[in-house]
Amino acid sequence: MPILDESVAPADANARRLRERYIAARFLQFPQPAQALKNTANVMRWARQLMDDDQSRQAAELLQLALEEDLTQQSLWLFLIELAWLGNDPGTFIELSENFRARFPRAETLVTIDSMGKKLLPGDPRYAEADKEFIVPDWSTPESELRDELRQQRLHIALVEAMASHASR
């Protein structure tokens, strides 16, 4: 994944239009990307759904596009950091976590990020002081009100049941 760069989102009107056409085509649910990508909760929700579809690269790209629009969306940074950690990608993890540290030096999550860094890169002096023990975060899952595993599973079971009754005809 390319490293985030604030200068990516173009100012030129034509380039801006092309970028938005690209986003709308690549992420079908974003007809007005400029606004949609600044809605952190929605971006989280869509990125999570991409993960559900085993499209973690596309999820990372969506988060990246959203951050290119507004770099202050802290939870999107954390989502990306978790993705890099889960994907066992030390290079991207370091780039993202250092970038995050520079932008949000007082963030409480830095403690967890350092522990994750220690686990991913045990010999790296950057994380030498970090705790070994930590609770694996779940920054890639939006708040539970919007997403309930039990409810979702109940619908799935009901669908499978209905499908089975037709398939056995």
Binding site: R19, A25, R26, Q64, L150, L155, E161, A162, H166, A167
Partner: protein, 529 residues
């Protein structure tokens, strides 16, 4: 044959006397070449190629932009383009020396290297245009490419840096990179890659030349593709330890190139910024990114293989229905979310609340249909050609196929009495027999479920909504989807539905797939009881 020169504003494409003149010119060139003078011959063929590309640029562009609405005359021009590239390819291969005498000066070696590069490039061009024209693949092409590459390597010119011209653009490359480009085109074009995307892919590969290099040892830090140059029937295949292979192409450099292409789109630049593909819709570029991501993922996943396609020996008639509304009303009449016991949904209440009045249902139907989804009677017979886990091929009359759009929903019943399979049309090709069109279908669900949902809002008469459930494979249920019309999706509704014996309130999430008038959205369950 018309007398219009190409590039004039005549409707459609036509073979003219200028086209036949170009073919004659190539035949004359073939006769007149002094093959003993390699450098001079190479320059003459390169010049002929540049002239041909200038001459045919308009035809190529118009054919590709014309999409699926093509006439027989358009097709004839496309086949002519493929034949010209093929002919120039044959001429170029005839001037390749295939070996270089020891002691040949470096300057002369570079001149000779150009003949290999030209031959490999033209073999790739010809192969691409055969596919664009829907012609049967040339089975000898891989063997030819292997021979050209191996002999270039033995002559020590495979890695010589050269410039080649592609559509007025000078590209720095090597014989090796051109060889990899041709094999990648062969590999990726064998799937569902329509002509426009194949053209875009080629301009990407031409821009990625620096990343198209082979190693002699298997790549250790990631998945790779492999080549066995001794096997003329096989090109680039996913490497599995133990396979016979003598060259390897790592996937990581290709992934990085793909990410850079995406980064250009983030900046508002159409990658690579040149070529016929520049004028294509953004959706074509994005579909290619999606396609390559899928292909790379397939190569990366160790066990996964493309599902095997079984051809149907005796052509088999199947029942086929196109379009959301017709599928909902006719194909899925007996495939409801209530299970097979509820044969008819008439009068059934699928959700809590009042039963829908006939008027409300009719209003709902009208508001959902919009201007997009036209009811259409499935015309018979349509034949099933082949079938796999993920797709099937249908054969139908070309005139009737002209009413079918790519990305249209299709329901196919393969066996009487069995459930309809739901799919989406991914390609249409009219090959060998012009009166017949092959329609490629990607399967969305083997047992789609018809659902009558109810829109939860403040109105007294609740609006009924037509939906088709497509259950995902994952047990967590977050991969489940529902297909609704565009009009319904846009209202961002909360919907109520009864599935089996449960009642659920749903929201529509990310659009996973869409077509004319319909969207397949992720399902988010808000209430389950």
């Amino acid at each position: 044959m018309s007398s219009h020169p190409p590039g004039t504003n005549q409707p459609g494409l036509q073979l003219t006397r200028y086209h036949s003149g170009m073919a004659d010119k190539h035949s004359a060139l073939e006769q007149s070449l002094n093959k003993a003078n390699v450098a001079e011959s190479e320059q003459a063929v390169s010049k002929a190629l540049r002239e041909f590309e200038e001459f045919s640029r308009n035809d190529r562009e118009r054919f590709l932009l014309g999409g699926l609405a093509q006439t027989g005359s358009d097709q004839a021009v496309c086949e002519w383009i493929a034949a010209r590239y093929d002919h120039l390819g044959r001429i170029s291969r005839a001037i390749v020396p295939y070996e270089i005498a020891p002691g040949t000066a470096d300057k002369d070696k570079v001149g000779m290297a150009r003949t290999w590069a030209l031959a490999v490039m033209l073999t790739g061009h010809a192969s691409k245009w055969r596919k664009i024209a829907g012609l049967r693949g040339d089975t000898a092409v891989r063997g030819r490419l292997h021979k050209l590459f191996v002999t270039a390597m033995m002559a020590g010119v495979d890695a010589t840096i050269l410039d080649v011209m592609v559509d007025r653009r000078s590209i720095e490359t090597t014989v090796e990179a051109l060889y990899v480009r041709a094999l990648l085109l062969e590999r990726f074009a064998s799937g569902n890659l329509p002509p426009k995307r194949l053209e875009i892919l080629d301009s990407w590969l031409m821009t990625w030349m620096g990343a198209l290099w082979l190693s002699r040892e298997p790549v250790i830090d990631g998945p790779s593709l492999a080549i066995n140059t001794r096997n003329p029937t096989v090109g680039l295949t996913r490497f599995v330890p133990g396979d016979r292979a003598d060259f390897f192409l790592g996937l990581r450099p290709l992934r990085r190139q793909l990410e850079r292409a995406a980064a250009d789109f983030h900046r508002g630049i159409i990658f690579p910024g040149w070529g016929i593909g520049l004028s294509f819709r953004m959706e074509e570029h994005v579909s290619l990114i999606d396609f390559l991501e899928r292909e790379f993922a397939l190569i990366e996943s160790s066990g996964a293989q493309k599902s095997k396609r079984f051809s149907i020996g005796n052509v088999s008639d199947v029942s086929v229905i196109f379009g959301f509304n017709d599928i909902y009303a006719r194909a899925l009449q007996n495939q409801s979310t209530m299970g097979s016991s509820s044969v008819s949904e008439r009068g059934a209440v699928n959700a809590p609340g009042d039963a829908l009045s006939g008027a409300a249902a009719r209003r709902a139907s009208l508001s959902e249909t919009g201007g997009f989804v036209q009811p259409r009677v499935g015309r018979q017979p349509i034949n099933l050609l082949d079938i796999s886990e993920s797709g099937l091929g249908l054969e139908m009359d070309t005139e009737e196929a002209s009413f079918v759009e790519v990305e249209e929903l299709v329901a196919v019943r393969i066996e009487a009495g069995k459930p309809y399979v739901l799919g989406v049309v991914v390609r249409k090709t009219s090959a060998h027999q012009r009166s017949v069109t092959t329609v490629g279908v990607k399967v969305l669900s083997k047992v789609p479920l018809r659902a009558t949902l109810e829109m939860l809002n403040d109105r007294l008469v609740r609006q009924s909504v037509k939906g088709i459930f497509v259950a995902g494979k994952a047990e967590h249920g977050f991969a489940d989807s529902i297909i609704v019309t565009d009009a319904i999706y846009k209202t961002n509704p909360t919907l109520s539905v009864m599935v089996a014996s449960g009642v659920f309130h749903l929201r529509l999430g990310r659009v996973r797939q869409q077509g004319p008038g319909w969207k397949m959205a992720a399902v988010e369950v808000r209430v389950a009881h």
